[in-house]
Every structure is written in C-alpha cells, then in structure tokens.
Amino acid sequence: MIDPASFRDPAGRVHHVDGRIFRAVHRAGLQDWLFVNGSEVFQRLVQRGAVLGADEVDPGVLGGDAPTGGLVLEHPRIPFWSYPYEWSFGALKAAALAHLDLQIELLDHRIALSDGSAYNVQFLGTRPVFVDVLSLRRYRANEHWAGYRQFCQQFLYPLLLRSKFGVPFQDWFRGRPEGIAVEEVAHLARWHHLLSLGMLLHVIAPGRLQAHAGGWVETRATRAQARGLPMSRYRSLLLQLRDWIAVLRPRAQGPSTWQDYAWGATYDRAEAAAKRALVECFARSVRPALLLDLGCNTGEYAGLALRAGAQKVVGLENDHGALERAFAHAHRATLDLLPLYQDCTDPSPGQGWNGREHRGLVERCADVEAVMALAFVHHVVLGRNIPLADVVRWITSLAPCGLIEFVPKDDRAVQRMLSLRDDAFPGYSFDAFLAALHRHARVVAQRTVSQSGREIVWFVRDAQ
C-alpha cells in the first residue's frame, strides 16, 4: 500500500508492505540519492541517529509497484508516528534545531534539502530523527534555500507564537497543517518587535510585504533567482536562525492546572506507594513494546512503567505546562517517552489531502500493546459530559490490556469538580464503571488505592 501522505515528491514514494516500510526511489530522484548515499557525511548522520537509516533491498518486494529504472530502500519502522501540531514547545524546538544542524552539516558537503517540512522529522523518545532521505539532494551552485518559507511556517512561527505572544501553537497549527502563515504572526507583532532582528527579518518584513507588495515582486524574484544566493549567505541564514531559535523559551503563562500536580495532592504517602506498586507490577508483567498513557501529566507514572519493563511510552496530555515538564523530564532522564498534546475528547483527526495525509490518533494506535488511564475517566465523564460507558469502550478499544483508575464521587477531586455545578451524573459509580468494563474486557486485578475509594482495575480485553 502506498502511504497516503506520500504523493508530492516526484523522486519517490513510501510503501507499507506487511508492516515493513519501503521507499521506492524513482528515476527522477536516483542520481541525487546515489550522490547523497555515497557521501561520508550521510553515513555519519545515519550512524549518529540524526537521519533514518535506509538499506537497499530487492525491488521485487514491491511487486508491480517496483519503480522502473529506480531502486527500493527499506527503513526501520518508527514505533509511533506523531505530527508537529501534537508536539510540545520543547519538542518542536528540538526538531527545529536538529533540522538546522542537519542542513548546516550537509551544506558543508554540498548537500541541500529540497524542503523545510516539520513532518519530515519524527521522534524516537525525545530524540528527533530526520526521516525523508529523498529530501536530501546535491547542492546547486548559488541556489536559494528552497525550504525557507516552509521552515518558517512549520517551525519558526509556531515557536514564536508561544515564545513572543504566549499563544500555544498546537491548536492553531492543527487547524492549518501547512503551517502558520506569516501574515498572521506579523499581524500580532508590536512596534517593539522591530527591535528584534529575527522578528524584523523573518516575520515583520515578509508579513508586511506579503500584504502590501505589488506586481514588482515578480520582476524582482526573476532577478534574484538569476543572481542566486552565495553559499556563505545561505549558511549565515541557517546559523542566524539556529542562534535565535536556541534562545527561544515558552513565555510563562503562570502555573498551569496540572504542572504542579503531585502525588501528595490527592494521595498520602502510603496510597501513592500502592498506586506506584500496581503500575510497576503491571509494566513488569506485560512488558508492553508500546504503552499509551492517557493524561500523562508530567510523566511520573510513564517513567515508572518504563523503568519497570515498558519499552516505549506515548503520553497524551492537554495541559501545556505539564506537557513541557514531561518532555523536559523525559529528555533529561533519557526516557523513551514521547509526550504529545492531545485532548482525548477531541483526538487528532485524519486531515490534509483527502483527509488521509495526516492520520488520526486512533488509527496510529494500532501497535499500542497496553494503555494506562490513571485519574483520567472522571475528567472526561464529569468535566466533558462524555457518557461513562463510551469512555470505557474507547479506552478498551485502544489496547488489549491496561490499567484504569476510577475516582468515586466521595473523592475530594470529584467533589471540587462538582462543587459549582449540578450533579447531572447519577449513573457515575464504580458499579456502573465495572458493568461497562465487563462488556468489553475481563478484570484481572482490582485494588483500592485511597481512603476515598479510588480503585485501579487491571483489564484484559475480550478476544474480538
């Protein structure tokens, strides 16, 4: 099957065959690929893990889809595909810096990138890796940076939204998968931003000219194209962007709801220990290759699961403060944890061309082997009015086994949630939860982990 997102590049296509990932290199991209693959710098980048490896295989694996006059490469599989509109600020910044570092190193060896797409970067844990090897091609003397505008739209402007204006970029970016337009960011700029060289060069000037320039642009563009861009200037542009992005920080928005959440907030020491023990026991027994942590917060329990036996965790969180802390914590502790921005009541849909270019979250969870939903259900049921049975069905559909924590109405956290509103949830009880769970799964273990009556249930989904 041809990857639904692989249709733009005439140099090749990505194919999925029996869970393996192949890339057909067409005749149009063959010469550039041979040049890149033969270079010492490319092999070094692959060894270092900055670029995804690619081994040539027998074209017969693609059957009738084998390219005429081209060749076929096989890539290692990325355990979980994510999109830039799901990344934390820290993750997008790490990806932007990795993208620029890659370009700077390659340019020194006369290799350029044909685009500046953030979708060409994926994460292994918190480490960015460049996946589209056919974007690399031989540098043409005095060429312009073909991916400059795309880099700005998909890396720089989302980072600036958060860093300069305090606006989280994820929802905006998801609404514009092609990236944030320069006019929109320029519109937010104030006069004092003229004092920032970066803002002036990459935002205000192109933004104003985009809105105000006339037909003279076409003439100037032809002249600029003919004149070309010396390599030293090309390099300076990359370096200046790198220096600027390296010092960008997410603008503080005050403490977020969950970033300071701690065990002690809702548990005493013994209760927290019981919950930790159950998470560790679960991870040690199941040893999932991919664990999904719904409402991962700052990644405390994901870290526990990883240390106990889970091989990789993808955490979903919709609180920006907690998300940033989770990414920073995973990066510092070199945990194979990828925290993603996600509102589980509105998970990323399939979008882009034909609604299939960027796959929806649930579709990407096919390889998930276990799920954790700790203190998650009550937020969705009581906070967002999703029926309890639907929430249980959704969680059990994500993985063949998992842990779900149920927080009863007597718990302080739930009482706080209901204190300013009518209790419109008469059916919210542990019995109702268990009844809903039994429709899809059997309970392997159940433990009360707090005096208020919080229960953690270990389920195994019925065979489907």
């Binding site: 600020f89 002036l200 000219l209 105000h212 320039a213 642009v217 600029a224 300076s236 990066h331």
Partner: protein, 97 residues
C-alpha cells in the same frame, strides 16, 4: 543603485544603512491589492535577509572577540581568590523549561 544609496543612507555606515533602509521600506510600504505568491516573495527577500544575517553574525563574532580580550585582561589583573572555582559556572540544560 541600491535603495539605501539612492536615499543617502550609505553615510550611516556599512551595517546600519541596509538595515535602516530595510526597516523604512517595510514600514512605509502601502497596500497594493495584488496577489503575491508567498514562494516568490521568499526568493526576493532571502538575499537581503541572508545578507543582514551574515552581517549580524560577523559583528557579533567581533564583539564577542573584543569582550573575550577584556575578560582575559581582567582575569590576569585580578589575583585569584583562594579556593575560587576556576571551572566557571555549569551550563544550564537548554531544554530545561
């Protein structure tokens, strides 16, 4: 003739002049009500943007070098305090937000 030369801005110096001209053009341009392809605009601007970026990097390197000379001198002049840590402060984690 470049815009900054035409306007006599070249008297401001080699770095400031193109930057000032750039700001003036950007701030004073008026609506043209014409469609401009963003890719085309990117090509037009890249030369100028990259040129200014190159100058900025060059002058920053010079300033850093100048400061490092002063720092070295002041270090030579100041006797090292007993027990002072000569290793400098630890670098902060760039991803630590």
């Amino acid at each position: 003739m470049p815009v900054h030369t035409r306007w006599g801005l070249h008297r401001l110096g080699p770095t400031t002049a193109p930057l000032v001209a750039f700001v003036v053009v950007v701030v004073t341009c008026r609506p043209a009500h014409a469609y401009v392809d963003p890719g085309t605009l990117s090509i037009v601007l890249q030369g100028t943007v990259a040129g200014i970026a190159a100058l900025a990097l060059y002058f920053r390197a010079r300033v850093t070098k100048l400061f490092s000379i002063f720092r070295r001198r002041s270090k030579c002049e100041e006797p090292e305090a007993p027990g002072a840590n000569s290793g400098g402060k630890a670098e902060s984690d760039p991803d630590d937000q």
